[in-house]
Amino acid sequence: MDFTVGILLTTFLTSVLALFVFIASMAKGLFGSGGAAAVQIFDDGEMGTVEDPAATRAQRGSLQRAMDPGQHAARTSVDVAIRQRADQSSSLVVGVCLTLSVLWLVLASLAGLISSIKLHSPDWWVGMEWLTFGRIRPIHLNLVAYGWCSMAGIGVALWLIPRLLKTELVGARWALLGGALWTVGVVAGTVAIATGHSDGLEWLEYPWQADIPMVVGGALVGFPMWLTLLRRKVDHLYVSVWYIAAALLWFPILFLIANWPDLHFGVQQATMNWWFGHNVLGLWFTPLALAASYYFIPKVLGKPIHSYNLSLLGFWSLAFFYSQVGGHHLIGGPVPSWLITISIVQSMMMVVPVVAVAINQHLTVLGNFRALLYSPTLRFIVLGGMMYTAASVQGSLQALRSVNTVTHFTHYTVAHAHLGLYGFFTMVMFGAIYFIMPRVMKWEWPYPWMISAHFWLVVAGFGIYFVGLSFGGWYQGLAMLDKDIPFMDSVRLTLPYLQARSVGGALMTMGHLVFAVHFFMMGWKFGPRRLGAALLRPPVLLPGVGRGVGA
């Protein structure tokens, strides 16, 4: 049998078999818990009670009235104390990770803005080697991916784990050490790119010397999660735990295989490059952000997600399909055609997990859109969820040969990448940080208007960015496909769109500066109001329960 036919047939049979195994386990109730796991995030009597520490007192009142104006049974003091201790146990490591992430965000934004301006003004700031486009652009990408996104994702994950398992985080110092090593890796890698020691592969520019602390650090940040899982006090693992645990397992392995020196070669290295390039999105960033949105949307609203079983279907199908889509980056390239075909098929199959997430998140919010007016957290996360659906559907379509022929090699792809990592991931992280930090700092956000300013700056900026670059990239692709149009015309026609992107990028950067300033003002406890323990009602500690509260 022809090799190509053989491999395609094998893949097809494996996929069908996996589907049947999956359906069978659903039918047998192996995912069982259903509704029970969905309400796991609430204490007894807590459902119907909204929670958004980023909201002002007035906003919180409006939010509660919009969602569920009735009377609720109060949570027991034991539950309140357990939640408080869970939050306490992670507050130091989470605070450190999120602070680092905000610093990286600001630096990454500046690097991105410089890159963007250089694309339409090539003679600007050309004297210094480290500022040349070919260096500052990968610096931007790596600072975003491994600085901002990873650090924020780790911080949010570590904060969610003790809450979701209703116990204290065990071994937080391992995660602190891991975060420190990770930071060493990011600094070393950035310096390496700036001084011309890049590995030369997109997403894998950091040389292996900088990768070692990141692999070790990445494994270490997962360590407290496993220790905490061993001591969990909940019957079922909430879907967010599935996403977080898998992501923390996947990343070190992905990063280790991809960066192993002198292993990969030529075209094989190219397939490996995009196996990694897409898996770092699909198996690292996406699960972390989905974990956050699966927690915060129902938690803010005070009602469980629409369908818990659907969320697990989403988890497994995401893992299965997303891990094989990388080849669509090489359509038309010198790689085996079966590989590309499999990746295109799995890219289309990504519709399954995306619809699962979309139904769950959007139907949970549906009918409660007024809540977005009052909850800063929800505003960012629900917008992020919408961008996830948009980015995923766009990504599936972009994998089709006919569409890819136009968009490949153009700025359209760059716009798409930002829809995913910015529109979705970054927005969700903003929302999560607004929720988490008041609990970590025991201090309210000092100036609610700065949250609004942040939101509208990044939304307006990103709107301009995305629309401008998508149109510019599409026209660029069409021009490149017309043999009668000189190549230089495809360069020239993108200029106004690239300038629009710089305007959008500048607004986004301003938004990030507002966010960072606000973040550090909170860190130094600026502002008029103090929230105390940031709980809706003061906790009553029972004897023996209050032990170890101080962090």
């Binding site: 339409h120 590995d199 997109e202 645990a245 198996l283 360069v491």
Partner: protein, 210 residues
């Protein structure tokens, strides 16, 4: 805690095993299989290994991120008019036998470079173009690389390579000298030439036996 300890272990076990099986499958498909298939792929007879100087130039290409704007993979004529732009035939895996790290690229802010050496073999053009792209291609958005050159008043010394710029861009009394990195990079660019046939010549046809 108390009820259903087995359940806890089931959840974690399912998670770890499932996650690892799925990742292994994807890795086998996208990393290991291509590895086994391409490991022994012989380079085409027309492809020469890079010289030490060309490899040095390749490092300059990597260090300055040329890959972020230039692909090295012309598409087949059935998909895109790359060949009609003079970028060359669709490449095969063997064309990259000496290319580690790979530099296939994902972006064409600038043209494909897999055959730039065949298309533009002039060393002077490349040096001048790296010093100031807009002196040769009006409207180009490629950055200039002044740090690959020395600009001095007076004359060049013996053994130095002087960059000859178009009259509109050269200044009287000023001389632009290429640094070793620039010379190496140009050597690499000129070596980018995969215009040989992709497949070895067909063996003579023999009459099929019925």
């Amino acid at each position: 805690m108390s009820a259903g300890v087995g359940r806890f272990e089931m959840d974690e076990l399912r998670l770890v095993v499932g996650a690892m099986v799925i990742l292994s499958g994807a890795t086998a498909l996208l990393v290991v299989l291509p590895y086994m298939l391409l490991k022994d792929e012989p380079p085409p007879p027309g492809l020469k290994p890079y010289t030490a100087q060309q490899l040095k130039g390749r490092q300059v290409y990597i260090a300055n991120g040329c890959v972020y704007c230039h692909s090295q993979q012309p598409r087949d004529i059935a998909q895109a008019p790359d060949a009609q732009r003079g970028w060359g035939r669709a490449p095969v895996a063997g064309d990259y036998a000496y290319d580690t790290p790979h530099l296939l690229g994902t972006m064409r802010t600038g043209p494909d470079l897999l055959n730039i050496g065949a298309r533009q073999p002039s060393r002077d053009w490349h040096l001048g173009h790296l010093y100031q792209p807009r002196a040769y291609t009006p409207g180009s958005t490629m950055p200039p690389y002044p740090f690959l050159f020395d600009v001095r008043q007076g004359a060049a010394q013996a053994g130095e390579t002087v960059v000859t710029l178009p009259p509109a861009w050269s200044r009287p009394g000023q001389v632009v000298v290429a640094r070793p990195e620039a010379l190496a990079l140009v050597d690499y660019l000129i070596a980018l030439d995969r215009t040989y046939p992709a497949l070895p010549p067909m063996p003579p046809l023999t009459k099929a036996t019925p």
